[in-house]
Symmetry: C2
């Protein structure tokens, strides 16, 4: 919430506008007195804030009282289903996707395409993504929605202090600045370019879990480690509701935690990294499926995970063994994480969530036997292992909601250029 | 700084008193105008704060002007070398120690004793420690110093929400409350018991490093992982100057991070934990020295580390190999930590710091080759490996300074019972 400014008059007003908008977004429709009660302001204090948000088109009058006369103080208020939209995109190793959510957090547009991005230069990838973005924004415009910004999830690292420069070994991108390639998409039909933020997909997956993951279940504790295993394996550590980014923004490289130090050579130059046992390619290979180009392995991560799930459900011994071993390797790596950080929960997210039935038992077995000291006298023992409800959708939804949150945190766009979803989780 | 209260008048006054005292402690002697300038208050605002601290005996007039007349506004001020003292104690597996620092942070008393604490019940250990505490406090009284509290470093875990209940496998203590056994020591000669806080030794070692470690060198970055390897191996993770404690207070169990998952069985029930390769007993054994009871292995951690250092300096092949392998195992475990958390520095502290010349090369080699992804495009590459300047003294000094900091943060003791060094690093 650092974006909401300090104790200046302007900062206080911005925070109060944000509180009104968030309260109505979370619990609306609400009357003015109900809003005042929930946020602890007087009715007289709330009224001008509501008027401002109505004028800006972020709130709308609704319900019986509103039908009688515009702006009647007794009317109920809801967030608009028009106006600003949170735009999110995802660049995967073999897919692209774009999604938009409205102020209510509902998905209003979503497109996806298979794409052979591995070792492709950034330019053609960003051209295709720009086309998808144009398609989505045209559709949004037809519904009275306009993007408030763009957050792009990437399978790579974004250095702290930068919001657009990516290091993504799985794509073959080193210090690639995505801003020029997306300039067309972020300018299209606007006076000024949309704020663009590029963000590690595992970070966005964890933030999505924190923001949306609870669904109808109990809320996720604010101390958890979120694992998203797909082509690479990323982790995001959330402590007291804040994402740990690392001194240089490079935290979360779970895929290169050593599991068997003398194991197979990894692309990174090390040996026995977690990715060599639990990465998608390793699992396909161990399951007897050649990962590249073989006829029986379909393109697209969902399709490959689907194939593995089908074979596992059919009782294919090689697949079951491969998934068991992937789970054990994840459990060993996570035992190190749990011994070091003592989180309340470990959340298995990303595409691998779809394989949870076959991965989690061996994961839990290794994790439990290797965290006995910490679990011994703790209230309730070691951390809970949970499976993400968002799964492979996490990073894309996280990206769209990161953009949306920048609107909810600063409804009238009085934000500084430094505004970015990075501030949201600090 | 949560102990310093909110925005109430009382909270503001407490914070200003603390700022004056800390400023003089860090940079004194200082004149009143110099203090005012450094903390950004007016001279008129500083004068009553200084008077209060003079009355309480925390500041003293010093220098030329003070000789002429007491309390002259032009005189320079220094923190007193009498008055409150920070008392710290350490319970090791085979030693006990007590230390006191004055307001200037100088060590004014220090005693240590060998002790066979492994698998001893808490009561006799705490009786011996109480005797050492009595010895130190008597000596302090003779110099006009009185303990302001007691912080005890233990080789174990202290559950969050408790300040005195310890789980210490190396001592054989489970859910042991140290308060009753130290009641005599914390009451001796006082109207009310001294505030008592028990704290994990690795945490205190890291805080000491943060507070004192820079010495005359460049300051330690506020993002580091501090490793204290002795009987057990603990780590403390400092992010943005704050210690990560874990959801239950159990973070930092580096010794049970799996290094070779199929390796030797550990006391914790797991296999191949770091302690099996880099713990003191493992190193002694690998160096051909039977850790328990053998004539050639002296008691006391300093003595054993000294023996290893001598043998290494003499070129003993088995010792050199044992230390090299310990360093490699530390490097593998720390590679996991660095991939996950991206700290700026890894600090080797505790007794093992004395073995750095023979441990660090293999540690750095493994760390570097296993953190290539994160290091690839970072400004300056991966984290720095540093050796603690405090070494085995870290936890004891950290304990004494934790107590001292509670005085500096709330000079006139207006603190709530919840005051504790735990608040200092949050």
């Amino acid at each position: 919430m650092t974006a909401s400014g300090g104790d200046t008059q302007r900062g206080i007003r911005r925070r109060n506008l944000a509180r009104v908008l968030r309260t109505v977004a979370a619990a609306g429709p609400l009357s003015r007195p109900a809003i005042a009660e929930r946020i602890g302001l007087t009715r007289a204090g709330v009224a001008p804030l509501v008027e401002e948000l109505l004028r800006a088109g972020l709130l709308v009058e609704t319900g019986r009282a509103a039908t009688g006369g515009r702006g009647r103080p007794g009317g109920e208020l809801a967030v608009s289903d028009r106006g600003p939209a949170g735009l999110g995109a995802e660049i995967g190793v073999d897919h692209l996707a774009v999604c938009a959510v409205d102020l209510r957090g509902r998905v209003r547009a979503r497109v996806a395409a298979d794409a052979a991005n591995r070792h492709s230069a950034p330019e053609p990838v960003l051209r295709r993504l720009s086309a998808l973005l144009a398609e989505v924004t045209a559709g949004l415009a037809a519904e009275g929605l306009r993007p408030a910004g763009l957050t792009v999830a990437v399978p790579g690292l974004v250095a702290r202090g930068s919001t657009t420069v990516v290091h993504a070994p799985h794509l073959g991108w080193r210090a690639a600045d995505l801003a020029p390639g997306l300039a067309g998409a972020t300018l299209a039909g606007h006076e000024a370019a949309l704020p663009l933020t590029v963000e590690n997909e595992a970070h966005l997956g964890a933030l999505a879990e924190l923001w949306l993951g609870a669904g109808e279940g109990p809320p996720l504790p604010p101390d958890f480690v979120h694992v998203s295993a797909e082509t690479g394996i990323g982790a995001a550590v959330v402590v007291d509701g804040r994402l740990l980014r690392g001194a240089r923004g490079f935290a979360g490289e779970l895929g290169h935690v050593p599991v068997y130090p003398d194991g197979p050579v990894c692309d990174c130059g090390s040996r026995g990294c977690l990715e060599q046992y639990a990465g998608e390619r390793a699992v396909l290979r161990a399951g007897g499926l050649a990962p590249d180009g073989a006829a029986e392995v379909p393109a697209g991560p969902g399709a490959r995970i689907g194939l593995l799930a089908r074979r596992a459900a059919d009782g294919d011994a090689a697949t079951l063994r491969a998934l068991r071993e992937a789970g054990a390797a994840l459990g060993i790596a996570l035992a190190g994480v749990v011994n070091l950080l003592d989180p309340r929960a470990v959340v298995l997210g990303g595409a691998m969530a779809g394989l949870a039935p076959w991965v989690v038992p061996s994961l839990e077995r290794e994790l439990t036997r290797r965290t006995a000291v910490a679990a011994a006298d703790g209230p309730g023992g070691g951390p809970v292992v949970a499976v993400s409800r968002l799964g492979a959708d996490g990073p894309l939804l996280g990206a769209a909601h990161a953009t949306l949150r920048s609107v909810l945190d600063d409804p009238l766009h009085s934000r500084t250029p430094a505004h970015s979803p990075r501030n949201l989780a600090r």
